[in-house]
């Protein structure tokens, strides 16, 4: 182990993935198996859920109890909220955002998907591609999750048939042409028996691409970051007021995308002033370059008035600058969206107000059909809307940049987060 510490045990990649599913499609069993087989369930946790399962009169240890942490969830046997689970193998660390799959929990699915590199879609081999699988895939594509892994589960109940697997794969691929996802993988599994979850299945010798965990450990994610468009939203200005740092004025923030280097010529928005990067600073000393998603402090050669909400960019690669844009909006509150309504809006480190100029169409998330006649947007609905903000935003299309392309809307009276938008 001491050797491991030095040979990369500290140097692992982190993969965030999301799962969505309902009670009976085996999602909890699959997560339970990943955690159990990777030895991430501890004895006291296992004993606690075993005891709880027995008390509820269940014959098997109910692995769903591991993820359903709230009293109400346990009582009702449903997942209400996003639960985050953590596990690690010697190759990678994983964060699972486990979300409920029913249509009334679309907002939770969207939440879980917003930070994920990969989505696991579960399909029951007996049922094939159903509405729920289409809905999950659509949300994954809407939120621009770069990798989609379709697990065709319960293969044990279809005699581990290759032709069943091939047919579902074909159906899904046909449907996926309507989606904007470029990396889709298919794995035949049985979560219950462990086929192709952690270990390769002896029951499906025709499948040669390795089990799910192997894919999760090896799928290439380092190119998911946008390292081209340099965007640095200023989060906080550091002025030490100490003698030894008399003229220190550092712009702290997290690189949204791109690579910033010492000496780079940059432009500051909204002022439009140009300067050069004097230094990229950190507690551990200056760094030569900063890339997403590093948190650093940038010092410029010139004294320019910069505050939170401003953005440091490259002159030859500017974001869109403007007060008008369209978003795909996922509505997350019982109170309906008001056409013409005014809301508080958050974008990168910027706070402003906005007005809903137009509700263009609503998307039926079962059929992906656009309905231009229906502009009633309620809880869990997804619609394309036009927004005008009180001040200019510096934004990119969500498709190109998940950080500078996303916004949330907030109720000005209750301060609740009402909706999440992806800039088109």
């Amino acid at each position: 182990m001491a050797a491991n510490l030095k040979d990369g045990y500290l140097d692992m990649e982190l993969l965030r993935f999301t799962t969505a599913g309902s009670v009976d499609d085996g999602k909890s069993t699959l997560i339970g198996r990943l955690l159990y087989d990777s030895k991430s369930i501890f004895e006291d946790q296992y004993n606690a859920i075993k005891q709880a399962s027995e008390q509820r009169g269940e014959t098997q240890v109910n692995l769903a109890l591991l993820t359903d942490g709230l009293r109400a969830e346990r009582e009702q046997g449903i997942t209400i909220d996003v639960a985050y689970r953590y596990f690690a193998t010697p190759k990678r660390k994983f964060i699972i955002a486990d979300t409920p799959g029913h249509v009334q929990y679309t907002r939770n699915m969207v939440t879980g998907a917003s930070t994920a590199n990969l989505a696991l879609i579960l399909i029951d081999a007996r049922k094939g591609v159903i509405e729920q699988s289409r809905r999950h895939s659509f949300i994954a594509s809407l939120l621009k999750i770069p990798h989609l892994v379709v697990c065709i589960n319960k293969m044990d109940l279809v005699d581990y048939s290759e032709s069943v697997f091939d047919q579902i794969k074909k159906d899904f691929t046909n449907f996926a042409t309507k989606l904007d996802v470029h990396d889709i993988r298919f794995i035949p599994i049985s979560a219950l028996n462990g086929d192709n979850v952690v270990n390769s299945s002896v029951n499906m010798p025709w499948y040669k691409d390795g089990p799910l965990l192997h894919l999760l450990e090896t799928i290439h994610i380092s190119s998911d970051e946008n390292l081209v468009d340099c965007r640095f939203p200023v989060q906080y200005v550091i002025r030490p007021y100490k003698d030894e740092y008399h003229d220190y004025r550092g712009y702290a923030g997290r690189v949204a995308s791109g690579i910033f280097k010492k000496g780079d010529k940059v432009m500051v928005l909204p002022s439009g002033f140009s300067s050069r990067i004097k230094e990229i600073d950190s507690f551990d000393g200056p760094v030569e370059e900063a890339f997403s998603p590093m948190s650093v402090t940038i010092l410029l050669e010139d004294d320019i008035d910069i505050s939170r909400g401003d953005m440091i960019v490259r002159e030859n690669n500017l974001p869109n600058i403007g007060q008008d844009f369209d978003v795909m909006l996922c509505w997350m509150n019982e109170k309906k969206l008001v056409n013409g309504g005014k809301y508080a809006i958050k974008h990168t480190t910027k706070d402003a107000r906005c007005v809903i100029k137009d509700i263009r169409y609503k998307v039926d998330i079962q059929t992906l059909h656009r309905d231009e006649t229906d502009n009633s947007v309620g809880l869990n609905d997804i619609a394309r809307v036009s927004i005008r903000t009180t001040q200019p935003f510096f934004f990119d299309r969500y498709k190109n940049n998940r950080i500078t392309g996303s916004i949330i809307l907030i109720d000005e009276a209750t301060n609740e987060t009402l909706g999440a938008g992806m800039i088109i």
């Binding site: 990649e13 501890f42 006291d44 109400a72 030490p240």
Partner: protein, 301 residues
Amino acid sequence: MVNYHLNHIKLLEAESVFILREVAAQFERPALLFSGGKDSIVMLHLARKAFWPSAIPFPLMHIDTGHNFVETLVYRDELVEKIGARLIVGSVQESIDKGRAAEETGYNASRNVLQTVTLLDTIEEHKIDVAMGGARRDEEKARAKERFFSHRDEFGQWDPKNQRPELWNLFNGKKRIGEHFRVFPLSNWTEMDVWQYIYHEQIDMPSLYFSHDRDCFVRDGVIYSCSDFMKLKPTEKVENMHIRFRTIGDMTCTGATLSHANSLEDIIEEVAATRVTERGSRIDDKRSEAAMEDRKKEGYF
């Protein structure tokens, strides 16, 4: 070719630093809850990084049950002195003296639950609008449902079924007067991440985390340190054991583990091999299946 890739430790650090800066930018009177345990030590270390070369722009707040390990208090005071931070201490003893809280009685009496009263009173007294805690989602099932930015009503209560959705890195810290927030910058860290980070950063830790000889007694399968705060039952006897603490709360609710780990490398190795959660030695969680959720709803850490 340069590899533009952050390993998991650097990624978690960048995320936590972002959260800490977001707190300083969005709130007027933050405080960092500091218990002297490993998670709050790491959180404080990250706060120093987030605002360097400035001093951290908020005070530390310690809710002192009066039943602390001496080592914890010594460590706390030395660290505060070293980094020049301001420390606010909320005293459970004072809450009891003022009649705001009533001491539990019996062999298993603990001031764990009473801390909530002192915490909320201290937050109110100092007009704190956000208290940052070192809680992690992997620790406990109710915590797995917690947001980074967790809204509390004017009574300090958490409403788990009505939490604000939290997407991307957009954190909504808006609130009405009298309400406050709890923010958990280490939400995505695991126990292993914390120890790997401590190792990576070579952070000084309280001696309690390393194996040492100590007078202990065993109750309900848990090894307790002998202290003035816990009365031995007639059947219980004092034994000198070679132990360390995996988690540090106050003396009445923290169990020890038999261990020979006396370096950070040893601890990491032990954490990797262990088959029991760290909160398995926390008696405060064992009071019922939803003990943590219930305390959190009331305003606990």
